[in-house]
Amino acid sequence: MDFLATIGRTFLVFLNATGRLAMFAGLGVSHCLRPPYYLRQILRQMIDIGYYSLPVVGLTALFTGMVLALQSHSGFARFQAEGAIATVVVLSITRELGPVLGGLMVAGRIGAAMAAEIGTMRVTEQIDALSTLSTNPFKYLVAPRLIAGLTMLPILVLVADIIGVFGGFLVSVYRLDFNPASYLQRTWEFLEPVDVISGLVKAAVFGFVVALMGCYFGYHSKGGAQGVGQATTNAVVAASIMILVFNYLLTGIFFSDK
């Protein structure tokens, strides 16, 4: 009986947390849709997410593309299918690895930074101060981050796609002695718009999730430096898990008929 009670209690806690998160998300989105907009804040966040994440996301994509080419070469050689390398690289990158690895990298970089910044503002009463200066914290802090996450991650992932494919190209041409022209031609041959678009939609969702988690855990942090640290950890872990879950769900939606 005690065991059942524990399960029940855990379930209630889970429902409670989900409800709070959903309400937070709803409130955040509603502020994204209603003016006024704090353009300076939005711009600052966009630069932070879009521009300053470029090196880390670009490097990730470059090496992923290179490894993909190497791996599939050694794997496919067993059944004489080396010709498929170009296709495998471009499809893996655009559909899966670009958005997922990009999202995870941004979760570590941006989600953590958001949680730490907003969390510090919470425990040092800066969020209270915002309210007393007639500025809605949701509008000033949360909405700009959600907007920036939602819009910048697709752009970031598009760049990552290109870099990743280029990485595969480099390895194939300079290490595996493929013909550059035919490699590029094979890259294009089987690529369909839905491959890229599905990846960009995923990126938008992941960007939103990362920003939401950073804001949510930061906003509700309490208890000084330790609380902020906890919030940062929670934000990154929660965002990473949600990225993996949403990735599965979205893949199901986009490619279930095939």
Partner: protein, 273 residues
């Protein structure tokens, strides 16, 4: 303890200039098991400077946050200009907060913004003033708290604690609010600067016609800026009276506090080493 003297003044009740600016009626607030406010009754009239004194941890800051709506009281009424504000949310709350300025105990400066933008924040975001004009006003307000224009470009982390406090003060008064709350405005300042700040608070009330509520432990400051003084103890207001009466309040709690004695009815929770 609620029947303790109120100093025999007319301030409890709406006598004088009509509806009180701020009125708290039976405000309760607790955190978990810990009761912090246990039925606060407080009246502040328009244009008056009220000083709230009381021991550390008795709920003074919590009371101010309840009035601002940063914390929600569990029960009781908080009226501003005669209207109950406890249920205000969103836009209505925002509009109400336009009337208020607040100096937080820990200054609570925005550390991502330079000093001048901190001070001009309410002007830029709240009143949509052009940034150049807001900066001018911000520098003027900084001057009033004894900070030169070179400070304007610094970031809060580059200031000393006392300087941060003064920037917080400049921010609280920058858009000339109707009602200003000062949470320990002089702690962390040297005695001379403390007096400058006292003068400034008096000036805000006299010149701008603002209503001020100041929390302080500094009796010299209380004497200088108060029209009325209220003492809070164990979550209740146990004494309210004219500033001139604090030395002969006839209330042993107030006596002990004003004279800073360890012996008396207020027992500090300390154990000998």
């Amino acid at each position: 303890m609620s029947d303790t003297t109120n100093g025999g003044t007319e301030i409890n009740g709406a006598a004088g200039n009509g509806t009180p600016k701020i009125a708290l009626r039976g405000v309760h607030k607790r955190f978990g098991q810990k009761v912090v406010l246990d039925g606060i009754d407080l009246t502040v009239n328009k244009g008056e400077s009220m000083v709230v004194i009381g021991g550390s941890g008795t709920g003074k800051s919590v009371m101010l946050k309840c009035i601002l709506g940063l914390l929600h009281p569990d029960s009781g009424q908080i009226q501003v200009d005669g209207e109950n504000t406890t249920h205000l949310h969103g836009r209505d709350r925002e509009k109400l907060l336009h009337k208020f300025g607040m100096l937080f105990q820990g200054a609570a400066l925005f550390d991502s913004l330079p000093v001048w933008e901190n001070v001009g924040f309410g002007l830029i975001q709240g009143e949509h003033m052009p940034r150049a004009k807001a900066k001018e006003i911000a520098i003027a307000k900084l001057g009033a708290v004894g900070l030169g224009p070179e400070v304007a470009e610094l970031f809060p982390a580059e200031l000393s604690g006392g300087m941060q406090k003064r920037v917080g003060l400049a921010r609280a008064i920058a858009d000339e609010p109707d009602i200003i709350f000062f949470d320990e405005p002089t702690t962390g300042l040297d005695p001379i600067m403390a007096d400058v700040i006292n003068e400034l608070i008096v000036q805000c009330v006299k010149d701008l016609g603002a209503t001020a509520v100041t929390i302080t432990h500094d009796m010299a400051s209380a004497r200088k800026i108060a029209d009325h003084v209220s003492m809070i103890h164990k979550g209740r207001i146990i004494w309210t009276g004219h500033a001139n009466d604090i030395d002969h309040s006839g209330n042993p709690y107030v006596d002990q506090f004003v004279n800073g004695r360890a012996e008396g009815p207020i027992k500090m929770q300390v154990r000998a080493l």
